[in-house]
Amino acid sequence: MKGENNFNLSCTVNGRPWEGEVRVEETLLELLRVRLRLTGTKRSCESEVCGACTVLVDNRPFSSCNYLAFEAQGKSVLTIEGLANGEQLDPLQEAFIRNIGAQCGYCTPGQIMAAKGLLSENPAPTREEIAEWLSGNICRCGAYGAIAKSILEAAQEYQQRK
């Protein structure tokens, strides 16, 4: 039964349709982590500052900590778990492994999803454009050089595949 403060949400998550009741104050982060057990999306600042919880909604990056679940109505949500094609990793994931773009790994899913959003908007970004786009994704281990390099390499890989 639909409660007073609840909302019937229907969206797709990682390509699969999802339908269910969400509380109006429930964040997309809670929905993904707690109810769908998609724990690759990380909780950190919960203030839209650090970028650890970045997911794509209709191909655009959002901080899922400040995105209410019901706002995803009719939209397509992509998380880090949905990025690889089965066993075949996305070029971004492969490049992050190759360059040690992940140290502790906690910010990594957010970095990769933000980068994915960038490359769908700008397939051949410069290093400055990458740095500007990722200014909301903090990596305390300081892997920025390796992250930028990974994104540049993945952009090339995407281009070649086309």
Partner: protein
């Protein structure tokens, strides 16, 4: 990590019947607790239990302080505030409920009446007469004094032609790992504690939890999932003890999920004042150095003893100083307690000594590069009682560091600042810094267990957590190299104290040295076992056997590992425990148990705006002596990452206290380095001469790169403008003040 499959403590699934904990922290930095009333909170639906000073059920709240080999320390912290709170963020109460929201709602119903007391936020002020006393029973805020001396300091100054005095300060800062500090999943059942938490030292923590609960150490099992960054912050904090207490009370698993604001208030880095008096001859020869240090431990000891001691033994830098005296005092203040932080105590002293050396050289009219060259310790030089002789080549580090930014190392000895006629306000400067840290230190023996199964797959068990250094990969590389098998045949388990393998923890650059050597030793023994087995099964003597490219070879014949393992019968396995060699501890040496030196050199190229004080970093280069990089990309990642954190420390990070409270303990106000802050020209590299005591000649190298950033920047600003900033962080405002513009 790149697929989201790596599980951190918050990602672990709930155990059946898990309850949720929430913590109430003090809003005051110093206040007496007049009363606590949690009766209303206890009655709320869903609330299972509350712990505060009125609900201790006979539990002794006092936590055991970590022992330090040079100091006698007395326990000073309770897991929950008793008579007063001593910092903004001290744990006052904790609630456990059926769900997190109920627990958080209950916190709002706990009535605490405080009587605010005057607070002290500066260690020098805390040591002055009349300061508010943080621990009344101690009578003063002085926690401990430490010293280091050699030669004759008075004679050293008598020999000097000139004497200079310099002072440099470092603020307190927050480690800010992306995964919050203070989370755990604790389950007390049948007289045993199972706890999952991000920690650097699970074996030590297990015995501390056991002590708290009055259990034998083997009744506590600590497991460590992936750690979302540590940098020294991931240690048990009072909230973990509260979770353990509440789990025992309700007999159910308890999960703690701290918020960012809570995370900020769990621990910090030591603020420090570095005051040096330098005696030098006109030709630049150092004759004496007298350093006075004040270390701010915050409200409790936490890492105060280690920070103070590390500062004292590193305050002289890396120079030949015939007459030395270093005195350090560590004081309590009302700040968040300071724990270990990447290069504990050393980051502050490197800022001090490297700016001092640059300043002294310039005042003598000597180029700082030449001054360093003249005074720096060379390979083979005696350093101090109880240490190895100097085992690195600073001249190579210096040469490569300046070359990394395309600089010849020559400083601008008479910086004019911005000529009035210049059209651009931007003035260019270059500077450098060196650092020297004692290599892996202390901790006793480290153990690793290697198991080979019938297929020849090797599994390593150990208690060295992975916090982003690439620990698991490192061990896998060591196994693969030692046994000459592919890395795909190696498995590395996460830490679990149910396997009784002591290790002091992934800090103090111990991982490669101590656990790396333990893994190497275990695999070497495994190899011997395989040779004996081969000799038994196929003939010959064990010493005639070899392992080459994954095959066991004897004379002209070779066998797969699984074939030889088959001789054991069925699914039998081989197991070998390895350990490291503990360096001989020299009695009365301040440098106990260290086995090598971990140095680095760095240079920076920047522009500073003479009108606004803004900085543009054009290039940075840092060279660390890795001995041998076991996994080059990971070693380089440590060097790069340390330098990035160094930029934050140099340019904007500090915790700010005003009017009795921590003002910037939240993500909006605490500025961290982002990708845009990192210069385009960022050169980091390693010396690799295979001369370290670790596996294959490696050295510890996770810490040298963070310490050199701030002094290199400070020296480069002087090179540009002829003014010196003496306190971190180096803000545009401080540059303008140094110029006398504001």
């Amino acid at each position: 990590k790149v697929t989201g499959a790596a599980e951190y403590v918050e990602d672990l699934p709930d155990l059946p019947n898990t309850a949720y904990g929430a913590t109430l922290l003090s809003p005051y930095s110093h206040a007496r607790i007049l009363s606590i009333d949690s009766s209303e909170a206890e009655r709320l639906p869903g609330v299972l239990a509350v712990v505060d000073r009125e609900h201790l059920d006979g539990q002794n709240p006092r936590l055991k302080v970590a022992p330090h080999e040079h100091f006698k320390l007395s326990d000073d912290q309770d897991f929950i505030a008793i008579d007063k709170v001593r910092f903004d963020g001290e744990l006052v109460a904790a609630v456990v409920a059926e769900d997190l929201r109920s627990a958080q709602r209950a916190l709002e119903k706990i009535r605490v009446e405080y009587e605010p007391l005057p607070a002290v936020f500066d260690a020098a002020e805390a040591l002055a007469p009349g300061a508010p006393i943080v621990h009344e029973e101690r009578g003063s805020n002085l926690l401990l004094e430490d010293s280091l001396a050699w030669g004759d300091i008075e004679e050293g100054f008598r020999q000097a032609d000139r004497v200079f005095e310099e002072i440099y300060t470092s603020p307190s800062m927050f480690h800010h790992p992306m995964e919050h500090v203070g989370g755990c999943l604790a389950h007390y059942i049948n007289g045993e504690l199972n706890i999952w938490l991000p920690t650097t030292a699970p074996v030590r923590d297990g015995s501390e939890f056991a002590h708290f609960l009055g259990l034998e150490a083997d009744k506590v099992r600590v497991r460590v999932p992936y750690i979302g960054g540590g940098f020294g912050a991931k240690i048990p904090t009072p909230s973990h003890y509260a979770a353990v207490f509440l789990s025992r009370k309700i007999g159910r698993p308890v999960r703690l999920i701290p918020s960012e604001e809570h995370s900020f208030r769990q621990n910090a880095r030591h603020a420090e004042v570095f005051k040096a008096k330098v005696g030098v001859k006109t030709d630049g020869t150092l004759t004496a150095l007298d350093v006075d240090l004040i270390v701010d431990t915050g409200a409790y000891i936490t890492g105060g003893a280690v920070a103070a001691h590390n500062s004292v033994i590193s305050a002289w830098g890396c120079y030949r100083i015939p007459n030395l005296r270093v005195k350090g005092r560590c004081a309590y203040t009302n700040k968040v307690p300071a724990g270990h932080t990447r290069a504990t105590g050393k980051i502050q002293t490197t800022w001090g000594i490297e700016c001092t050396m640059d300043s002294v050289a310039r005042q003598l009219g000597i180029d700082p590069y030449q001054f360093r060259k003249k005074n720096v310790l060379l390979r083979g030089d005696f350093v101090a009682k109880g240490t190895p002789a100097m085992d690195t080549d600073f001249l190579d580090l210096m040469e490569q560091a300046v070359a990394g930014i395309g600089w010849d190392g020559k400083s601008n000895l008479k910086p004019a600042g911005k000529p009035e006629t210049a059209s651009s306000p931007w003035v260019r400067g270059r500077g450098m810094a060196l650092s020297l840290r004692h290599g892996s230190q202390g901790g006793g023996r480290a153990y690793a267990l290697a198991t080979m199964d019938s297929r020849g797959v090797v599994t390593i068990q150990h208690n060295a957590p992975e916090a982003g250094q690439g620990t698991q990969n490192l061990f896998s590389v060591i196994v693969a190299q030692t046994l000459d098998i592919p890395q795909s045949q190696v498995r590395v388990k996460p830490p679990d104290t149910a396997v009784n393998l002591p290790f002091a923890g992934v800090s103090a650059q111990r991982t490669t040295m101590q656990m790396g050597n333990a893994v190497h030793d275990a695999c070497t023994k495994l190899k011997q076992e395989l040779f004996s087995l081969g000799a038994q099964a196929k003939g010959g003597k064990p010493e005639e056997w070899q392992l080459i490219q994954g095959r066991l070879c004897w004379g002209e014949t070779s066998f797969s590992i699984s074939e030889i393992m088959g001789a054991l019968g069925g699914n039998a396995v081989l197991k070998c425990v390895g350990h490291n060699r503990v360096p001989v501890t020299v009695k009365d040496s301040a440098f106990a148990g260290m086995d090598h030196w971990a140095p680095s050199g760095a240079a920076i190229d920047l522009e500073v705006n003479a009108n606004t004080g803004e900085l543009r970093i054009l290039g940075y280069s840092v060279i660390a002596d890795a001995g041998k990089a076991l996994h080059y990309p990971s070693a380089k990642a440590q060097t790069d990452g340390g330098a990035v954190m160094g930029f934050g420390h140099a340019l904007f990070e500090e915790t700010i206290y005003q009017e009795g409270q921590l003002q910037n303990g939240d993500p909006f106000q605490y500025r961290l380095p982002v990708m845009k802050d990192i210069p385009e020209v960022f050169y980091s590299s390693m010396l690799e001469k295979g001369d370290g005591p670790g596996p294959f000649g490696s050295k510890g190298m996770s810490q040298p790169s963070i310490v050199t950033v701030a002094p290199a920047i400070g020296n480069a600003i002087y090179d540009a403008l002829g003014v010196r900033v003496r306190s971190l962080p180096i803000s545009p405002e401080k540059i303008l003040r140094a110029m006398g513009k504001i």
